[in-house]
Symmetry: C2
Subunit: 470 residues, 2 copies
């Protein structure tokens, strides 16, 4: 593992203190001279510490005054409005728009603000290749044979071990591997619903889940969702008797990036358990927290096996490896049966490679760097949007995850904005993709998973100008 | 590519002539002296040619008489009876038995006559590892990124190219890659049926497909099936108006190993087309022919896009890679939509690795060797069963594929045989796994995908003795 330089270590410590609220926005930081004395480092090193923090837009220097924690950019623009879906399932989804947005992503030279995963530049590609090689050496038959039905034993072991960090206390036998996260969700939904059933979920939500639900003939109840605390628990309570299943992304959901407070998670798990309504917890973003620690997952509060905890490495490590898993609680038999019927086995060699990567401790280092990049991006995006987007823009304050939710003035249509932007080689995800109802027409999702650069900043400014001219 | 020795080349030529019927069972072969003169080789080389053929059980030497083509062992035992399913769907499948057979396969030290794929010893593992390494070097982001929805372009290209060998004339755009063959079948069945629909298929048939159909709420019409020519076309004609879909494995289906004659394939494609009933052609064994050339697939006769041709490398190259594909004809949009909803993308790196393997020409060499091994195994198995199995045993004469179908006397219960055999560390697949009806209780499937050895021969003899004592 490559060691950080001293200045990087100290900068990290200060970042942790800022994130933890020890120094708040506007607070003056110790002078360079003080830092030198306290940390026993040279003037040059101390300067590099502050330069690093400036580059991350976390502090600013004011001539003749010193260094200050950036006025939290989040304070400048208001939060998006709390979604208020009508409670009716309008049964329509803009399939054409979704196909167009995804279809056009392959065009060359686009700036992909629409993409829902980290760009390959942010992934530990060389290390993964080594793990892949090792996996092909170590696996029986070099990975040409089928896996056992529950999936790669080494991966289940290491995922179980990591679950201790968020209170999951899972054993390897509590886990079934899947071909990525959507495959896990799809198995769970197939196991737990029949056509005509109603499910409750967040709003806005990842379109793939909405499309899957519609294709299975399900009714979708979108719940009012706060841009920072997630679904309205009272609203869920009001409909709990009508639903067969609840599906939530409680940790830094896309597109809002909100995280349900622990008390809400606990309440939801208990409520659903009382009514025997299973909860699918799509937990693929929780490792991407911007704060000081990983949020506790709903699964940690599950006493009866009613929570089906789904996750993957598709948003953190290797989307194209298709490595995911589910801890299905008391629904294990049904999930195993469906896995057997539809796919038999996952790809052995990528599952083993990810297990090796996770075992060797490189994952935590990588996650730390990735979180850092995403958080810094979030600040850069927010600053740029504040400066260049039209009057009346609102913006989410994600506490983690990969996306930013931008709400423009009511009369700005982001489907139209998409058309204008794509002509200038900028791709965005219009808000109406994320709902089955008539809402979010003036919203869009921007991906934080791109490497920040002057070029990217210019593209974001350009997007703001296009929006202003609509 | 490693060159064969001269003696191997000549042996291969003679094998082709025997398979092609130029020399028939019982025929005397040219003397060693004649071979020397005709081929311009040494006595030693000529002796090695015949030794090679003896080892493959294709010829026998009779002292003072010379070398003779083995009395085709197939002639000694009668064929299994033609299946006569009742036409009713009994709606039961011995799930417990199936789970037990699959579940116990992982136990150590078992002789797996029950397994449905080639053993790793028969696979080109070292070459595949090289291809995997090359794939991780050449793919964008080393395979960490999602694939386009239709799948790996290189794989679709090379599969399309190979389709010319069996009259498929496919273009890369006619193909969608999938996560193995069962995933292709599952997507097709989901796209084409609703619960309550009826589908027609072979009998006996791979249990995974029967289980999938039942789990989807489908009625399954099993058709009378001849152990050499496959389904009875007239029987299909009689029910064609009742069915929504037909699913066939026309090339060396498991467990029978039969191959539908070209005229039958043509007739079936035309019949189903006239009645607008789509045909799923599960074509994963056709490359494993024992004869002189690959059979033509049904897809070759498809003029209207009504045949969904599914295949994979799971039975020939790397089951654990999960690389398959479908050429869905006019149902492309539905299949793409379902692939997007349930899995998004396949594992990029194994798809690319298989594409590289197929491109580089090593596949044909490997297939030739594998076919040779399987055909030789088939002869060895047949000889051993003829010598050691109880009176009244019948046996299939597979023209290709991975399995042998053995029918014992009516009063021998192969579920009971399974129990007895597993205690002696022998695993078989009892016949009732392969049907939804009350039939095949006295049958079993044996896998040809194991490396032949004295040890294996002894195990097969042992199995025969257990059956004889039941």
């Amino acid at each position: 593992m490559k060691k950080d330089y001293i200045y990087q270590q100290i900068a990290q410590n200060i970042i942790q203190l800022i994130r933890g609220g020890v120094w708040k926005p506007g607070d003056k930081l110790p002078s360079i001279r003080t830092i030198c004395q306290e940390q026993g480092i040279s003037m040059n090193t101390a300067k590099r510490v502050y330069l690093e923090l400036e580059n991350k837009a976390l502090i600013i220097s004011r001539p003749q005054s010193g260094y200050f924690v950036t006025e939290a950019p989040y304070r400048r623009l208001p939060l998006p409005t709390v979604s208020k879906p009508s409670g009716k399932d309008s049964r329509t989804l803009p399939d054409q728009l979704i196909s167009k947005v995804y279809g056009e992503m392959d065009r060359k030279g686009l700036t992909l603000f629409s993409i829902g995963m980290p760009s390959p530049e942010l992934l530990p590609v060389a290390k993964l290749n080594k793990c892949l090689l090792q996996a092909s050496r170590e696996l029986k038959g070099s990975g040409t044979a089928y896996e056992p039905l529950t999936g790669n034993a080494r991966l289940r072991q290491v995922v179980a071990r990591r679950s201790f960090m968020w209170g999951g206390r899972l054993a390897p036998d509590d886990l079934i591997t899947t071909s990525g996260g959507m495959n896990a969700i799809s198995l769970c939904m197939q196991a737990l619903t029949q056509p005509g059933d109603t499910i409750a979920t967040e709003s806005p939500l990842y379109p793939g889940i909405l499309q899957l639900a519609k294709s299975m003939g399900l009714r979708v109840l979108e719940l009012p969702t706060h841009p920072q605390t997630g679904i309205d628990v009272q609203a869920l309570k009001a409909v709990v008797r009508q639903i067969k299943l609840c599906l939530l992304v409680p940790g830094f959901s896309t597109p809002l990036g909100c995280c349900m407070p622990e008390e809400h998670k606990k309440a939801v798990v208990q409520l659903l358990d009382e009514h025997q309504v299973p909860l699918i917890e799509d937990d693929l973003y929780s490792d991407l927290y911007f704060g000081t620690s990983r949020p506790v997952s709903c699964k940690a509060f599950d006493k009866t096996g009613n929570v089906l905890w789904c996750s993957s490495v598709s948003k953190t490590l290797a989307p194209g490896y298709r490595v995911g898993w589910v801890s299905p609680g008391r629904y294990k038999e049904e999930i195993l049966r469906l896995k057997y019927l539809h796919t038999l086995s996952n790809t052995a060699v990528t599952q083993e490679a990810v297990a090796i990567f996770l075992e060797n401790g490189g994952y935590d280092l990588h996650l730390r760097k990735l979180r850092d990049t995403l958080h810094t991006n979030c600040i850069h995006y927010t600053n740029t949007i504040t400066g260049y987007f039209p009057e009346g823009t609102r913006i989410s304050r994600p506490q983690g995850g990969l996306s930013l939710w931008v709400e423009l003035q009511k009369d700005i249509d982001t489907a139209e904005l998409y058309e204008q932007a794509i002509r200038q080689k900028i791709s965005i995800a219009p808000g109406r993709m994320f709902t089955l109802q008539k809402q979010f027409d003036n919203c869009m999702r921007l991906s934080l998973g791109l490497p920040w650069s002057e070029q990217l900043q210019k593209k974001l400014q350009q997007l703001g100008r296009i929006a202003g001219n609509l």
